[in-house]
Subunit: 250 residues, 4 copies
């Protein structure tokens, strides 16, 4: 039962295990698999469930603490993006390492911390997340990536807020709600919320409208991860935190 | 806050998300990260902990049930290999899908099923697994891969059985045990176990010596996953189960 | 002007220079770029130009002699496929080496040997070839690749033979010839050649109908490359030359 | 002889034919294979052969004219680097296209233009070039790449100038010359040339010391490729030609 005559198979690993391009920002995005079903099975509140958001943020914090080369993370709904410093040399930039460690730790943390957020709502089955790793060559590209995700949050949340208002308060069926919303632009949706449901969209909690941004905060006692719900599309956020991009200019 | 001017960033995903070569067997191997520390923190029994093995097998079964294109899986210690049928077209053979789904579901299942196996031994923290995906072009290569892992199980288990016998029964320090074993070949280790510790290695439970093999069993009531502890290096295992490789000849 | 502070840029090469999967047949296919224009500029004879075919075969032979790990090559029209032995370890299976050496030597040879075939027809400009490298995991896949190319030769040649008969002998315009042929299947084309142009397609030179196959012939005096024009889709060709696939079974 | 049952083999091409990361500068470098032998066989003059340099530059110009997205090229000895604009979308950024077209056209041009530079020195055999494609994410990285090559030119040329002076003028054997030079730094080499061979290194033709830089020059009559022999490591070259990097800032 000599191992040696089989060891040649190890060579085959080289072909897929490629290295990520140096000096690029590395983004790992995890994304819930079949989370519509998962949310229904666990009675997620609509349009937003603070327990679910809290749990996602808790998992993301766990991942950031494990990999301090992640300098910013952004989450919304059932997805989370982790951005590694462009000059990271962790695991020689082997793509599989980044991908698997992040999605694995995120997934196990989701189950591990479930009870802290959902209390008596029991977890029915182990959830599953998709993940991908993407390279962004410049600061602009990386910021545009984050802006893309935050703009997506806005669009989805505005839609969902209207949709569930129609269903929950106006007794529309999901299909009816969909049809009503199909022909509305952003302005019409704001107007509908304000007129019909007495809701000023811009006064809804920022966590729903802006998603969650995780960054490191360094004080004399050490470093900790803080969770923010701010606009990251404009320059304000970045200008106020010059340490984020320090050493990462193009 | 228009999404469209940021959407170009989606193109960057294409570069890393490559497709796995058609007609190759696809192996996803998950592997515990820092499991020495994890095992110590959770008082794993040595040299083998049936609770830990049971939990790993439970997770692997969960993964197989989710992805029926996995036709065989093999586990030992803190690692598990999943072999997808060579002709699978799941997710258009996008490598990230295979990698992330398997390691994510394995990791979340590990926490989800922990209590069933470890009872009052509480889980201290969420564990993390590494994963990779590898292509094997021929039946021979795929079988040699599995043989490589099973030969590795044998070598490791024989070593560990001796090591822990020296430490637990002979009061050697780990360093002393290591020094004693450094100069022994396989025969000498068998001899040591038999003479000094009254243990016939070949009579130890097969699960320790052979690891665990998961395959589908199809009966009239449907398909189920069965866990075996047999030699998979020789032809016997494969000859006895012609359905495993049906449609997968070169 | 120290070189050292710039040398970090060499690391960036690793990301693209991947290794080809072991145990796969490696095919490099070169393909003329804008060869319609090239053929017109150099008054290629239609439907087939023996000078052009001879030159392509000469270039292919040159490539095979330079890289003896190519065990078979197949050419038709302005393309040539080179198949490397599946177990080749040339250049550690770095994909760029295979690709660039083959297409470079083929291209330079095309100019170098031009005059031997085209005589007074002067080369107007340096030609350009595209190339790709593809992995085939099994013998069946590799043979099917070659069959695909030879079936393509047949289809194209039958079409072109009819097309140019209509244009050259029947004074049709190219557009008219196209329209006539659009509605014909293979049988109708054969029939048209036979009835209208007194041509038995199957009696045309094999080099037009079957393309060119290059293999090594080893005699006592040494090894040489021979050019054949035979069917390689059926088993006959391969059965008659067992040395071709020796050591290359799955 | 239906083509369709073989066409599945086309799918296998997708796995290797990957796309180059958007927004990166793309460098294709061609490099002579076994050019020591080639130079000896064709009596290249030492340490520098103006005919060889002229031919290389001619080939590079041909490549640039064919692919106007190349905005700068740099050559020295038997290698040439071509830099494509970072925003090129030529061939959807398929790596094989860039690689094969550049090396193919360079190689065929080398033979095509040989006589213009080498006259009666007949070409003995078709030459062969290696090629690779590399991505550089930022302007700094791309400029450092070019600086790396030009610093290399300087180091090699200073060495070669000394080496051939010792061999040609001082009747040293190659081995003796090597041993003498092994212990010299850059200053000592300059000193040796000046004292022993009455040569002021800095007064040697710039083409030897700086290599060749090709850029586009746009005038009212149209665009043409010009060949320069200037320092491209410092900012001067780039500041004097703002159009080069226009639209290519990070």
């Amino acid at each position: 039962m000599s191992k040696s005559r089989f060891e040649y198979v190890k060579q085959f690993e080289q072909q897929t295990d490629t290295l990520l391009l140096p000096n690029c920002f590395l983004v790992v995005r995890v994304d819930g698999r079949a989370f519509h079903r998962f949310a229904a099975a666990h009675k997620y509140r609509r349009p937003n469930d603070e327990r679910g958001i809290g749990l996602m943020n808790r998992c993301a914090e766990r991942v950031m603490r494990e990999f301090p080369d992640i300098f910013v993370a952004y989450g919304e709904s059932d997805e989370y993006s982790f951005v590694f410093r462009r000059n990271t040399t962790l695991y020689s930039r082997r793509q599989f390492k980044y991908l698997s460690y992040v999605v694995s730790l995120f997934s196990s943390s989701f189950v591990y911390h479930w009870k802290e957020f959902f209390g008596d709502e029991e977890l029915q089955y182990a959830p599953c997340f998709d993940a991908r790793v993407v390279c962004y060559p410049t600061l602009r590209n990386m910021r545009d990536y984050l802006s893309w995700r935050q703009a997506d949050t806005h669009i989805n949340n505005l839609y969902n807020t209207c949709f569930w208002a129609l269903v929950q308060q106006d007794n529309k069926t999901p299909t009816e709600a969909e049809q009503i919303l199909r022909v509305t632009d952003s302005g019409a949706k704001n107007e509908m919320l304000f007129t019909q449901f007495k809701t000023n969209y811009n006064e809804l909690p920022a966590v729903y409208r802006k998603g969650s941004v995780l960054v490191w905060e360094r004080t004399e006692e050490g470093a900790s991860v803080v969770t923010l719900h701010e606009d990251i599309i404009g320059n304000g956020f970045w200008d106020a935190r010059p340490e984020l991009l320090k050493g990462q200019q193009d």
